[in-house]
């Protein structure tokens, strides 16, 4: 009886896991199938081909989009970590006028749905002449309220004696932050880094609004425009272009799986 229940449990888990993994395996295999085979369930194509990848690469600037995505997500992540931690440090450990207000406003910002500010942000970017620029993709994400609050919470727990003795040694606040707080804060910094990078890597609505020039598009946008605009022409080609977006994420996820789950679960970021 007990053995039967164990078998049923593992059977159900395997079935569930297949439901989540199989579509991605099917997708990967479909990109190597010629048009005549795409509809089949088989994971291994009878006549494997690289044509889908060649077509995709030739028809739209996916290499460029990959670089754009890395550049945009990388800059945003760096800014959220560096400038965000400077802000969080001051909010956690320094007394200055307006600090309670800043804390309250930062928490309030989290309650505002993005759709409320979407159009005013868009008109702002248009009026600033920033349509079709990296600045349009990066500027609105330079700071992140969730990240600041998480880092602030972590910084609050670091003993004051460390700050006091560093000040005795004549260290400035910036040096205290980067040479004492940062090494102690690796857990929270890695959580912030992962969810910030992933949020930016997967973002598609904002780029669709502010970028029209193909050369400036990030991967999710180019993929969407390419697949919808009929540029792909076939399932295999459209899925092959999706692979450019998926492969780096899956590799990173396989290596840093535990950190990914912890990071994305704690921030509420869902691709």
């Amino acid at each position: 009886m007990k053995v039967l229940r164990r078998i049923a449990l593992y059977g159900a888990l395997t079935l569930a896991a297949l439901t989540f993994i199989y579509p991605f395996l099917w997708m990967a295999s479909a990109t190597f199938k010629p048009l005549t085979e795409v509809g089949t369930i088989a994971l291994f194509p009878d006549n494997p081909t690289l044509d889908n990848y060649r077509t995709m690469w030739a028809r739209a600037p996916f290499g460029r989009a990959l670089l754009n995505s890395i550049m945009v997500a990388g800059t945003i992540t760096l800014s959220v970590l560096v400038f965000g931690s400077i802000t969080a440090y001051a909010m956690a450990r320094l007394r200055f006028r307006g600090r309670p207000l800043l804390n309250a406003v930062t928490m309030g910002v989290l309650l505002v749905p993005g759709q409320l500010t979407l159009i005013p942000m868009y008109t702002l970017i248009v009026q600033a002449g920033l349509i079709d620029s990296y600045a349009a993709l990066i500027l609105p994400y330079l700071f992140n309220a969730t990240a600041i609050l998480m880092m602030r919470q972590f910084f609050l727990q670091i003993p004051q004696s460390l700050i006091d003795s560093a000040r005795m040694d004549g260290m400035g606040e910036m040096r205290i932050l980067f040479s004492i707080f940062w090494p102690l804060s690796k857990p929270v910094l890695s959580i912030v880094a992962i969810f910030t990078f992933m949020g930016s890597w997967n973002e598609v609505l904002w780029p669709l609004l502010v970028v029209r020039e193909q050369q400036l598009m990030t991967l999710p946008q180019l993929l969407t425009v390419f697949s919808l605009g009929g540029g792909a022409g076939s399932i295999g080609v459209s899925l092959a272009s999706a692979m450019v977006l998926v492969i780096p994420v899956v590799i990173a996820y396989a290596v840093l799986q535990r950190h990914f789950i912890e990071s994305m679960a704690s921030s509420g970021v869902k691709g």
């Binding site: 896991a17 479909a30 400038f83 005013p120 700071f143 600041i148």
Partner: protein, 287 residues
């Protein structure tokens, strides 16, 4: 002390400027835009209550609101049930627990655009994987995304699939907090597995359930890339979402005032629905 205050103010100054430009200004200007007519080319014109009146009588907007409620009525129960079931399975002593968890979480890390493109192929009527399986089992293929009655349920099922791993983690965290002594006590009383679930596990997980309901409701109101990629809002506008309508007004029709009005209305609807849900679930708990 003076020095501390000075460095403090200096260190938060960039963030304060950012908040003014990218939070305070857009919130205020969203409310201003409600009363304007503006195509981004000519000067904005004062429109009084025109946008609000238009919205109140705009069948397309209300169609999108109804669609969202259809989506939620399928998505919420499905999301809670699947997340809870998988979390309960994972909460047992298991081999390869981190593998199972990672498998369920995989779609969460994949871009919504990719998932939408992948699933429009899985759902495809002639060459789709799902219909391929149905035909193998001797059933008729279903035109998932082209039949007005199945399109939104199909999208709701897909979104549930994409996000379930995220909610499994939330429920798993909640299950850790159920004290052993409670479980033992209820077992000594001779409760069946179902009774234990109904009278111990489920009530103890109420905070997590509220979180799951709130987050997936907010998420549901923000539905965009799925209909944009998979159906274009069709068939018969049955999958048209509020954000898709907002995007179309801004991007295709250049109606900034009206698009902003939709945004403000959406924020109000989300706030109201989440508030009501919390009251209702809170009352259910008291019973």
């Amino acid at each position: 002390m003076r020095a501390e205050a000075r460095s403090g103010s200096l260190m938060v100054a960039p963030y304060a400027v950012f908040l003014l430009v990218f939070a305070a200004y857009p919130i205020v200007f969203a409310l201003v835009l409600v009363f304007l007519q503006w195509d981004l080319v000519t000067t904005p014109a004062f429109a009084g209550m025109d946008n609000v009146r238009l919205l109140a009588n705009d069948g397309r907007f209300w169609r999108a609101v109804v669609n969202t409620f259809v989506f939620l009525s399928i998505h919420l129960p499905l999301q809670i049930a699947t997340a809870l079931a998988l979390a309960l399975a994972l909460n047992r002593p298991l081999a390869f627990r981190s593998f199972w968890r990672a498998a369920f979480f995989l779609p969460v890390v994949i871009s919504g655009a990719v998932v939408a493109i992948l699933w429009s192929n899985l759902y495809a009527t002639d060459v789709g994987l799902i219909n391929g399986l149905l035909v193998r089992m001797g059933l008729n293929p279903v035109p998932w995304l082209t039949d007005p009655n199945t399109a939104m349920p199909a999208i709701a099922a897909m979104v549930t699939w994409k996000n379930v791993g995220f909610y499994v983690i939330i429920y798993l965290a909640g299950l850790q907090y159920i004290p052993r002594s409670c479980r033992e006590a209820i077992e000594i009383e001779g409760a069946t597995t179902w009774q234990r679930f109904r009278h111990l596990t489920l009530p103890m997980l109420l905070p997590q359930t509220i979180l799951v309901v709130t987050l997936s409701t907010i998420n549901g109101f923000q539905l965009f890339i799925e209909p944009y990629v998979m159906t274009g809002g069709g068939p018969l506008r049955r999958t048209y979402s509020i954000v898709l309508y907002l995007y179309t007004n801004a991007f295709a029709y250049q109606k900034m005032g009206y698009a902003a009005t939709i945004g403000v209305a959406l924020a109000l609807i989300i706030g109201t629905v989440v508030f009501v849900q919390r009251r209702v679930i809170g009352k259910a708990e008291a019973l």
